[in-house]
């Protein structure tokens, strides 16, 4: 039949190709691994301009575009990308629990949105005056085994927590149209010490609560960074002051 009907033969070949490509392949990798021996994960578009910031406790490297035409003050809205995950270079990939990972990155993204949205309203389309906030949890490892919570479907249950003991946050703000780096931050403050991330909606255990607090604190530090870079100082402050005159007069 296949020999006589070329259409059927084409359909059979296409089906085989489809099955080979999608049917037999492994699920897509949802996390990346820090290359061995590297200082940074490679997530940021550039690490070249990062400098140790005196404004923060702990090891925090920051960069803010000094060019007045490209600095943070030129932007008014923000797109918050899904948070990415980088596991340690010696972590066992097979032990990274996807449900725990998703719970952690979704919680952290929500904390970032909460942290920045009144200063930079969150939008969903790229365009002029719009920044993109990219963030990654770097240095994640497999944590302890977890007894699945009651009432959670088996496929959504967290079986093993994420160890965030040595996690750092890498974050950058890029122009949503040109992808140029406008600001960046690598926060290595050890906020996740003693914390494990599992289900973060209603964390019952202390180590899970600690993880939640750590994510909140990292998000709050991102906001502090934006605030500090938005302050007006020096000669600019004098000019801003002089130029603001209400219309109603006195």
């Amino acid at each position: 039949m296949f020999k006589t009907n070329p259409y059927l033969r084409l359909a059979a070949v296409s089906l085989c190709a489809f099955l080979l490509t999608f049917g037999c392949s492994r699920p897509p990798q949802t996390f990346k691994q820090i290359p061995a021996g590297k200082e940074f994960s490679g997530f940021l578009s550039s690490y070249a301009n990062l400098k140790l910031s005196p404004r923060f406790e702990g090891q925090v490297l920051t960069f803010a575009q000094p060019d007045a035409e490209k600095n943070l003050r030129r932007y008014v809205a923000i797109i918050v990308d899904p948070v990415e995950t980088y596991i340690t270079s010696d972590a066992d990939q097979a032990k990274i629990d996807e449900n725990a990972r998703v719970s952690a990155v979704e919680y952290f993204r929500a904390a970032l949105v909460q942290g920045v949205s009144d200063a930079f309203p969150v939008v969903y389309e790229k365009g002029p005056l719009v920044l993109r906030l990219r963030a990654a949890l770097v240095g994640v490892d497999a944590g302890s085994e977890v007894t699945p919570e009651e009432g959670v479907a088996p496929e959504a249950a967290v079986k093993r927590a994420l160890n965030i003991n040595k996690v750092a946050v890498e974050m950058e703000l890029i122009d949503s149209q040109t992808n140029e780096q406008i600001a960046a931050m690598v926060d290595r403050a050890n906020l996740g010490a003693g914390a494990e991330a599992a289900s973060l909606r209603t964390p019952r255990e202390e180590k899970f609560r600690k993880a939640r607090e750590a994510f909140d604190e990292w998000a709050s530090r991102v906001r502090q960074f934006l605030d500090s870079e938005s302050e007006i100082a020096g000669a600019d402050a004098d000019r801003v002051d002089k130029s603001y005159l209400p219309y109603n007069g006195r």
Binding site: R73, L129, D236, S243, Y244, P246, N248
Partner: protein
């Protein structure tokens, strides 16, 4: 049902109608017929400059509104024809006021003189006869102005107006960021001598069309009037709402003001430009 029954039904219907319409009686009240732009921009005493602003912006296509003199409540009217030929005038109005929505369904309206309005029925903040900011009030006014100028997230696309008298502040204007609304109120409240703040700052929508107009207007103005733009800000503020652009701030010459207007008008998508730039006449 006899004639008496019909009359009673009609009376009951009328009474129910009054109840449904709300608690605001249809008594005439004094108001100022303004344009929506000037009502938000020139909050404070109704001076000649404000009257001029009201008339010119209304003529250029701004929406007409009524400002209730008792409490500075800005009301959108159901039919613009009621305000034709009256914007810039004091008026006596009757109609159904929906305070929550800031709307009025006008029944009647007539122009009146300010002199015929008893000063007791006009908020002193709006009454040019009573509004005098001197002495300690002048110092407080200056402190509020300084605090508002220094808001960290105040951009080229925001403008906040205010009026101050006797411990009371009214904030108005436009901002693209929610934080400026709260921070401005907090900043005004932090000034010693301020007792009460009314916050009427409008948070602008961030639609992609308006964002594009904002960015392109700034780009054009900066190209032709670069001396008014510097590191952290600019002397020219660009307010964009639903395709309408308002140019605010100050420039040195009338020519610069005209250039700004022409350039803002040439931005694709900007279908109306209101040029309210002030010409200082002073060189930089």
């Amino acid at each position: 049902m006899g004639r008496t029954g019909v009359t009673w039904l009609a009376l009951l219907g009328a009474a129910a109608g009054v109840l449904v319409r709300g608690d605001t009686p249809l008594e005439p009240f004094p108001a100022y017929a303004d344009s929506d732009i000037c009502a938000r921009l020139m909050v404070g005493p109704i001076t000649d400059a404000r009257t001029q602003c009201s008339r010119s912006t209304y003529k250029d296509g701004a929406e007409g509104v009524l400002v209730r003199l008792r409490d500075n409540l800005v009301l959108s009217v159901n039919k613009q024809k009621f305000l034709q030929e009256r914007v810039g005038d004091f008026v006596s109005v009757t109609g159904e006021v929906k305070e929550k929505n800031g709307r009025i369904k006008v029944d009647s309206i007539k122009s009146i003189d300010l002199g015929s309005i008893p000063s007791g029925s006009v908020n002193k903040m709006l009454d040019v006869r009573q509004y005098k900011v001197t002495g300690e009030d002048a110092k407080i006014f200056e402190k509020i102005r300084h605090e508002l100028a220094m808001l960290p997230y105040f951009s080229d696309y925001d403008y906040i107006s205010f009026a101050f008298l006797g411990g009371e502040v009214i904030l108005s204007g436009w901002t693209v960021r929610d934080i400026n609304r709260g921070d401005a109120e907090h900043a005004a409240k932090s000034v010693k001598g301020v007792e009460h703040v009314t916050n009427n700052i409008d948070v602008l929508p961030l639609g992609s069309m308006d964002m594009t107009i904002r960015a392109n207007t700034r780009l054009k103005l900066q190209r032709f009037l670069s001396r008014y733009f510097w590191g952290s800000g600019s002397d020219i503020k660009i307010i964009v709402k639903n395709g309408k652009t308002i140019l605010l701030g100050q420039v040195t010459t009338k020519e610069d003001s005209d250039v700004a207007f022409i350039q803002a008008n040439s931005v694709p998508g900007a279908f109306k430009v209101f040029n309210l730039l002030r010409v200082t006449g002073k060189g930089k």
